[in-house]
């Protein structure tokens, strides 16, 4: 068949409209591959049909496109890349868009992970800070509770119906000094409130003396008067006592058996 005959046969039109039989299709393909004029004619026919169809277009609802792209994005996770066919067509395939989706997803996940780690560290630190804050608060509370307990005990001493206060007044060496003794009539226990004794100089401490049968007997070292801390301190017990005195003594491993330093305060029962 000559080219003109092919073109005027009407077979190209049947091919373009999809009406050609299988045999006719093969024939048209061969001609189109063999003769550029035939291929060109076929393209013209197809273009005119494309324009014709477009002139009768019925635009679908816009939701169709949205749904379509949702489905496409779903399937983009598992792309079908046919290397053969792309090679056949002479195209160099770029990296699949879905791969960049993976990259984006991976990057996003990494960012989330980093964010999570940072958050965790920050929360961990905050938690640590809170824990130590709580611990120190608890410590404070405990020390207040302890103090409170001590105060209560002190109050018990003062308030006890058996406690007998003895006022020790300042002597020549320290006229302004004073101390208070609480002696328990029922048990003979001795407590001292050393609030009004002067602060001890370094290397010295106070020693309490109880006068029994006219002689001073060691009643214990006053430890409650170091710095300006204060509480009522329990001393040695005496069943029978005439007077109390406090002297300022050198700090020693073994306390004196009689006052060596100046006696600051004294009071009789």
């Amino acid at each position: 068949m000559k080219i003109k005959e092919i073109i005027s046969s009407g077979l190209l039109e049947l091919y373009a409209t999809g009406l050609a039989s299988e045999q006719e299709k093969q024939q048209v393909k061969l001609w189109a591959a063999q003769y550029p004029e035939v291929a060109n004619e076929l393209t013209q026919i197809e273009n005119s049909l494309e324009a014709y169809s477009k002139s009768y277009a019925i635009q679908p609802d816009s939701a169709v496109k949205e749904k379509l792209f949702l489905k496409i994005k779903e399937t983009a996770i598992a792309p079908v890349i046919s290397i053969n066919s792309t090679a056949d067509n002479g195209y160099v395939p770029k990296k699949s868009t879905s791969i960049s989706y993976w990259k984006i997803t991976a990057a996003a996940l990494l960012l989330l992970l980093i964010g999570s780690v940072v958050l965790n560290i920050s929360l961990f630190n905050t938690n640590n800070n809170n824990s130590s804050l709580l611990a120190s608060t608890n410590q404070q509370l405990q020390s207040i509770a302890d103090k409170n307990k001590e105060m209560e005990q002190d109050m018990l001493v003062v308030q006890s119906k058996y406690s007998m206060p003895v006022f020790l007044n300042g002597l020549e060496a320290a006229p302004d000094a004073a101390a208070k003794i609480f002696w328990m009539k029922n048990t003979g226990e001795v407590f001292i409130d050393a609030t009004n004794l002067p602060i001890t100089p370094k290397g010295k401490n106070y020693q309490l003396w109880a006068f029994v049968d006219g002689k001073p007997v060691d009643a214990g070292i006053i430890t409650s008067k170091t710095g300006d801390t204060y509480r009522i301190q329990k001393m040695k017990t005496f069943g029978k006592v005439e007077a109390f005195a406090v002297s300022l003594e050198e700090v020693k491993d073994i306390p004196n058996t009689s006052p060596q330093g100046p006696v600051l305060v004294m009071g009789k029962m």
Partner: protein, 184 residues
């Protein structure tokens, strides 16, 4: 519409679609969805069903794009064939004999003549008048063949034409169409 400024040549479009370029696919859809939808509508005559098939057809086009062979013809021809086959399969699987019913309908030819639904929405192309000026006998044969998926045999029976005349009538119709388009 976003991306409407972009114009791809057919070769570029094909290349991009092979690379699964979604922007190119969006362009493809914007350019051809209406025309393909009209093809489907003429076969199924139900708006919602047509749109379901349209969506399915585009998914097929997207997923099987590597099977498009440009040496066998234009992209649009390939897409119309996919769409037409899908529509016909759907109609058959649905079990409704719409095609046969239409064939038995004496108003069938008139239906086809009037089937320029949506044409007014494509005024920008400036083609409607030219296409509308096409002789009715030409319009009918193109509509039947190109849009409705009849066989040569069915067309010859329906239009009461000898089988051999179908292709000469078709050639005449398309030649006239081409003339109209060139005059645009």
């Amino acid at each position: 519409m976003l991306g409407e400024e972009i114009k791809y040549s057919e070769e570029e479009l094909v290349s991009r679609l092979l690379q699964k370029d979604q922007q190119a696919f969006s362009y493809l859809y914007d350019n051809y969805a209406g025309a393909l939808n009209a093809v489907i509508y003429r076969i199924v005559e139900e708006k919602e069903l047509a749109e379901d098939i349209l969506q399915e057809a585009f998914i097929k086009i997207w997923n099987n794009f590597t099977s498009y062979d440009k040496s066998k013809g234009r992209l649009f021809t390939w897409m119309v064939n996919i769409t037409k086959n899908l529509s016909i399969d759907t109609v058959r699987s649905k079990g409704y004999k719409k095609q046969k019913k239409i064939l038995g309908d004496e108003n069938f030819v008139i239906n086809l003549q009037d089937s320029n639904i949506g044409a007014e929405r494509f005024d920008t192309i400036g083609l409607n008048k030219q296409v509308n000026n096409l002789k009715p006998e030409y319009k009918i044969i193109i509509n039947m063949a190109y849009s409705s998926g009849f066989t040569q045999d069915e067309i010859s029976k329906q239009l009461d034409l000898p089988l051999g005349t179908v292709k000469t009538r078709m050639r005449a119709a398309i030649l006239e169409l081409r003339k109209h388009i060139q005059n645009t």
